[in-house]
Symmetry: C3
Subunit: 561 residues, 3 copies
Amino acid sequence: MATARARTAPFLLVLLATLLCAAAVAASSWDDDREPSRCVRRCEDWPRHQRARCVQECRREEQERERERERERGGHELGRRRGEGSGDERESEGEGEQEQERSRRPYVFGRRSFRRVVRSEQGSVRALRPFHEASKLLRGIRDYRVAVLEANPRSFIVPSHTDAHCIGYVAQGEGVVATIENGERRSYTVKEGDVFVAPAGAVTYLANTDGRRKLVIAKILHTISVPGKFQFFFGAGGKNPESILSSFSKSVQRAAYKTSSERLERLFGKQDKGIIVRASEEQVRELRRHASEGGHAPHWPLPPFGESRGPYSLLDQRPSIANRHGQLYEADARSFRDLADHDVRVSLANISAGSMSAPFYNSRSIKIAYVLDGEGHVEIVCPHLAQGGGESGRRGGRSERWSRRGEEESSEESEEEEEAGQGYRTIRARVSRGTAFVVPVGHPVVEVASRGSNLQIVCFEVQADKNDRVYLAGANNALRKLDGAAKELAFAAPAREVDEVLDAQREQGFLPGPEESEREEERQGRRGRQEREREEEEGRRGRGRREELAETFLRLATGGV
Amino acid sequence: MATARARTAPFLLVLLATLLCAAAVAASSWDDDREPSRCVRRCEDWPRHQRARCVQECRREEQERERERERERGGHELGRRRGEGSGDERESEGEGEQEQERSRRPYVFGRRSFRRVVRSEQGSVRALRPFHEASKLLRGIRDYRVAVLEANPRSFIVPSHTDAHCIGYVAQGEGVVATIENGERRSYTVKEGDVFVAPAGAVTYLANTDGRRKLVIAKILHTISVPGKFQFFFGAGGKNPESILSSFSKSVQRAAYKTSSERLERLFGKQDKGIIVRASEEQVRELRRHASEGGHAPHWPLPPFGESRGPYSLLDQRPSIANRHGQLYEADARSFRDLADHDVRVSLANISAGSMSAPFYNSRSIKIAYVLDGEGHVEIVCPHLAQGGGESGRRGGRSERWSRRGEEESSEESEEEEEAGQGYRTIRARVSRGTAFVVPVGHPVVEVASRGSNLQIVCFEVQADKNDRVYLAGANNALRKLDGAAKELAFAAPAREVDEVLDAQREQGFLPGPEESEREEERQGRRGRQEREREEEEGRRGRGRREELAETFLRLATGGV
Amino acid sequence: MATARARTAPFLLVLLATLLCAAAVAASSWDDDREPSRCVRRCEDWPRHQRARCVQECRREEQERERERERERGGHELGRRRGEGSGDERESEGEGEQEQERSRRPYVFGRRSFRRVVRSEQGSVRALRPFHEASKLLRGIRDYRVAVLEANPRSFIVPSHTDAHCIGYVAQGEGVVATIENGERRSYTVKEGDVFVAPAGAVTYLANTDGRRKLVIAKILHTISVPGKFQFFFGAGGKNPESILSSFSKSVQRAAYKTSSERLERLFGKQDKGIIVRASEEQVRELRRHASEGGHAPHWPLPPFGESRGPYSLLDQRPSIANRHGQLYEADARSFRDLADHDVRVSLANISAGSMSAPFYNSRSIKIAYVLDGEGHVEIVCPHLAQGGGESGRRGGRSERWSRRGEEESSEESEEEEEAGQGYRTIRARVSRGTAFVVPVGHPVVEVASRGSNLQIVCFEVQADKNDRVYLAGANNALRKLDGAAKELAFAAPAREVDEVLDAQREQGFLPGPEESEREEERQGRRGRQEREREEEEGRRGRGRREELAETFLRLATGGV
């Protein structure tokens, strides 16, 4: 016994040192430690070699949150430096920190990473910067942008066209969307859960027809002119938004409209309320009346290829996965023809409070996700390459901690490839309403809802064709399909032992989350009887006392997870 | 009355000041003011806030024209600096001015922007530099190049292949085009108005079979190897053009051709007349005889997909738009199968003297236009983004005048997005035979023919599939399709008033141009009776005297538009 | 006679001077002139204006070989600088030379240009750096990478997925390949000559089932996430390779697998043998047994589009070309459906010892070749543009020798286009097992096998659709299809004379190589009777004595070709 304990001592000391160090750091940083201690406490949950970093990030996150609170309390000066209250994450931080931030979490974009591109008393459109500017690792989706429209009750978004296809998801509220394509107006009502496509160049306008709720639309823009850039053109308009018509020279305007300059100036001189304007009850009624005339087109038989027929209600469909831990609703080119042009799948994941998605990856798609509601966190497993991404890559901004070998960049453009299999970096980020994140091809991800509320995420998956969602846990775990010999060789363990672990989880798609599953365990006694029996059996077959002791101690040291 | 006049005074003073300032600038710059005053005089035609710039540009344009005249009078030294008389716009200007030039009109390329890539006594091929080098805003068409072939009467362009697909339009003359594809020679006669495709890698040769006229072919090259780069390979040849065959090592040549080095050197030592050589009458006759044997293949039934069947005569088709102001002839993948591979539409716009195209934009296509004949001007309406384009973007070359807010470039690559709806910059450029211009997706454009002659423009529209030409004026004006409520809200004016303006123009596609329409008005009395009546009616309904006075004064001040 | 000789003198003097100069250079450089003299001697074989360069390159090549020999004798320090014995060509040379190297032969990559991305006692995966980093001229294939897997007898490559499609060719040995796609495991045996596709995201594992031979697989990776970058993800694994599963936080792992941390740590703590591990005889047998159950699927009827059905044996097919000089085996989307997704053709050229491929080019494809066996050399004919490529282009690294005109780079990005037809630069490179080379669209190439052994090359041709292999010599020479008049005009010679040269070679596809064909000639007497007669006939018809003398002298001077 004594010798066993002695042998475990070094390990435990290291662990304790780590935790104490973390605690010290935490204590020195915050006085109000409502959250920090909790964040730091969670770090023990991480693979051992990532714990120190976890504590560091906890600390940084808290500092940020602190700064934010400060700012909200009245320190808006900083945030306003660039003329908009909204600002941008970068404003509030030193250049150096900003760079670190970006290189550390190249795939997660907080609410403050969005920039307002349309501003109006009645609403706004906010957009993420182009992905390829955010990180070199995202240049594969440089043609796509994320944007969010918010419009006040009974407001009208004036007609415009853009040089990008728009795929929108109605996140909240209800309204009318109208497009003019090939000389035809199509006008349809939309409500929460609807997906719709407004193709590039089509004159498009919307109205929030509800009298009380905001209309919120999350969308991706598939740019077709300058990669990653989109622009709005207002045909109808006046001074604000300025009409493109009034930008032609006067003599051309007169000739084009067979009308005197005076009348034209008068017409183009009136609207100055901005892009999103307040509508009267009657106007809203008229817009809705026209829309109902067009109506929700039936989706079957399918319209001729390439023709738009109005929205597709995700939530009215059968979910492709559904259990008490969550539901997944999906629309792709097969179910919703309007998406065919864009090779995009739109899906909505509704993860029950305290539950999580089973770990999975997309075989071909890059997933662009936007959190609609709730709170939680995501974990994205990235190979080392991910560290070299972001703009800091150019200046060798990879932090020394995480780069294992000195590297010489052979050219400004190159990111050195690491040797395969040498470990991963896990991006772990809290997410809440307004967070966007990207999951690249092949990267395993897990999305965990906090206990307080459901986590709702809308996902736009580009490169959708032939994509396969590959699960790494649960009843449909792809690894269960390995040959017995492959399991033995890959895990260096008897196939039976591998199977026991891979087969234990019977649910699939959505699973009980970490806290939920632990409470459940507790309910069933500290451990399930079955598992204990199995472990005891193993114990009999030579498992030393050492591990058991270590386990017990760990539980005590960390406050009994 | 007096008070009304007093209220209009500030406005008129500003206007007068602007005009006087412009005149002063004009007067100080030129002594021979044949043209300048006219250009400057026209500036009053522009939206008020763009007038000062208009005057500036007038001035610069004139200076350029002046320099050009100088050069032509004997000052060729400058232009010859790079070994070719043709030179390039940039040569004749300081680096600074050049940068400005490019950032101001990123979409228009004068005759001198072309560079000679094939030079010969009997003709030339001139090409525009790659678009993505000209402006970042054009990187969406980086795979395409524009080139123009000119060949003397009875000349022969020796066989070659390139690493780019060639889509050609015969702008003038007649000849024979032959390609060797899949081991088959196809040889066909072409004449003015024909479109043909020579795919990448196909050995291609041409002859001008006419004894008196030049053969002129405008083409775009769709590069498939290095984006935006194309290269010629001469299989048959000698010293000039050097044959690729003679570039293999001698022993390989001997083995490949089972022939002695001496004979090979003799064969490859003869041709030294260049890429375009003079042909005998007999040779031309033989080439034409073979071509007529192959003949103009019928276009129906369609040949198997991907197979080339010779030229397609644009001018022999029914125009898709035709009135006395102009005609539009079009060929796309549906009418001309050879284009299917390239997602390109070729069209010819023939705009009558004094007329203009109705303002329109392309919903998905980027239009690459080349002026075949005539004179006129184009106006392209660009969002602010356009200012940041061009290479000068990197150094913050955006002129202070036009950037509304201080901007920090977040990375070398980034172009800051402006807020939407804050106005546009209109690129206005004179065009004449040899001018190329690009109209990006969604950008409204109008093409105006001068009174002297028809303006003929050949257009290559890339991203042709599902493109929609959206008109912003005329009977098919897309804005007429807006709901009544949408009109009211967008223009902040009664729908009836909006409709009056949008419905006044009854023609469509091509319209009377500015001068033509004004003369017409004059003919019908200073104003049409109908319109006057309407305005009077409005006047009765509360329209103040102020505007009327302003109108009258404006007309007097500007010399009676 | 005397005057004739006098007139030829200048020409001969120049020639002699060149040769003497070359010899002098050669003599001064090497003492052990086993090879050099032979290489230099061959330079006389080159077109006159390229000879001096040829000699230079001979010299440089020898120096390299010398250095390599040195290094192998014990000077490995240099090569090890970066932690791997394999190193990289660049390590052993000064930065300056390296740049030259790359700009001179942007299309050829020696064995040492590969970098190890997977390293293990039981094998390795080596990959070429991304093409667009190697040369700007190769940015058209930036989405593709070349890699080579070598696995010891009875070894197992652990399951992983990548964010790239893999198209593999089994170059040596035999084994089992298994993929898990759409929840199904497909497992098939492969042997030398098989082509197979493992799509992105599919869990894939392999085994070398042979007890004595290495398994070697040459493959291209078609990247779909970050252009030109691929990453491995190991689902099953432990410490080395680290499993992605163990990178999730502990609480997530516990919840996902419904298993205690202890058990998970135990499972993920075992495998530490690396990515390629030794398998037991029994395990190999089990893997093969499962594979044989799945079996080699029949290729007809074709499986539903997009579905993978196992390998395709190139060598079991009828070659598309076959004669005693070589055979070409091909697989494309039509014959092997798995390739359809990737627009890639895979082919194997087996060139008999001493023979060569007929000179040819691809009309649309870019060919990525990897030498499997044998020795020889390739010649690739490149327009001048090729010189500006590579990274040195940025610093104007083009050697003065070969740039004909002073050039101003208009932007950092631009490569000036040369005027067409002004000659080519021929890249000539020795190749042997492990050499990779790229032949861009339209570039003529010839591949010559040394006399010692067959030269075997596997080719991956991207942009395969509608590609045409265009031959420049042999019975199927495309130039033979030119009109008579075109021949006359292009060569400035009577069509009959052109035909005599173009028709002499009766074989096609693969031809006797330089040495072989010369020995053959010798066997038939110094010259074929027929040819001599023809030449005499020509002589009678006015051919001067001058040329004949020159010929004779040349033959004497160069040691009797």
